[in-house]
Assembly symmetry: C2
Homo-oligomer: 188 residues x 2
DNA sequence: CCCCTTAGAGACGCTGCGTCTCTTATTTCT
DNA sequence: AGAAATAAGAGACGCAGCGTCTCTAAGGGG
């Protein structure tokens, strides 16, 4: 009647749980992810989850950074603005694909406190790309209203929210070529 | 032992139910709207709801046009493009406000079949505004990529999804002045 | 080596979903 | 008008999943 030899604790246990969340997301998606399911997959009890997170949304929010890297650590620098932008947007799509697209919708419905920090970071990244392009002489100025700077990220997030499939690459090209680059020209 | 004298049927009953949905949305919001709650408020049984709609999302989707008018019937024509655009965006915000902002997030999470028709309509409206502006000589051309045309509506919907409050008027002004008008200039 | 924290296991009550059944009011058909 | 068909009103039912609670025992810290 053994059963268990060793009992996980603290950070190690927490890592296993967050892994289980990712596997559960990949398996059944966000809509059908349950606390029971995560606990079972992590071979632990619900109480262990509730000791750490108040509900499903908090649990999933905690799981996100556990596997995805931070985009801030992968800011593209290809030597050309258009390529930089496309690379950045493709990174965002890549993260959407890893998660499964219904996670975004699901979290939006349940999370009431969206962290503005997340959005500020994207502004800073885009501004960096623009300033580099100014230095290279590609565009006249990076001195744009904040809202204009973030347009490509905003439009892409909008597409992610709408679609249940990973956003198509043609859409990214459209955002850059049909909207953002002309917008930059219009501000110049 | 009377209780009931008259029994509602068909369209009259349906109208009462959809009214009840709106009242329930105003009262408790989308997240806490239940089939039981709607049935009780409409003084009928759940079965009557399920006879007509398969689930909560379908029920709410059906309720939306019951009170909101169609934006297509209120296309602004102020004689100036900027004013037309702001008026249109304000109409959209007005509808968001009537609903309560969590309805958008809630429906997104549960509805898998977004109707592309809804989005095509907004493209046509914006194109109309642009073509009028061309006729007046305000802008050189309305011949833009589809994605560029819909930018203000897309950005506003993005804001609606993000925020749990009605979108501020300053945001609308920013979308028009900082993004759309420069974008049109850049395409000219 | 003892104690204290907390993992593991599962029972519990509750809410809301979606289905089903039954009676009876109202409409439609003949 | 009367009979048959339709659908409303009422509520019970089983089920899933939430979040809470309790209990035992493992293993780390002093």
């Amino acid at each position: 009647m053994t059963g268990e030899q060793t009992r996980r604790r603290g950070a190690a246990l927490e890592a296993d749980i967050l892994d289980a969340v990712w596997e559960e997301l990949a398996d059944v998606g966000y809509a059908r992810l349950t606390m029971e399911g995560v606990a079972a997959r992590a071979r632990t009890g619900k109480q262990v989850l509730y000791r750490r997170w108040a509900n499903r949304a908090e649990l999933v929010k905690a799981a996100l950074p556990h596997r995805t890297g931070f985009i801030v650590d992968q800011v593209p620098d290809t030597g050309e603005l258009r390529e930089d932008l496309l690379t950045l947007l493709r990174l965002m799509v890549e993260r959407q694909r890893e998660l499964g697209p219904d996670v975004i919708r699901g979290l939006l419905a349940e999370v009431t406190d969206l962290d503005p920090k997340v959005f500020g970071i994207m502004h800073d990244i885009l501004l960096t790309l623009l300033q580099r392009a100014v230095k290279r002489g590609e565009i006249p100025t990076a001195d744009l209203p904040r809202r204009a700077v973030t347009v490509p990220a905003d439009l892409l997030r909008y597409e992610m929210v709408l679609s249940l499939d990973p956003v198509a690459d043609a859409t990214l090209v459209g955002i850059v070529d049909d909207v953002y680059l002309p917008l930059l020209a219009g501000h110049g």
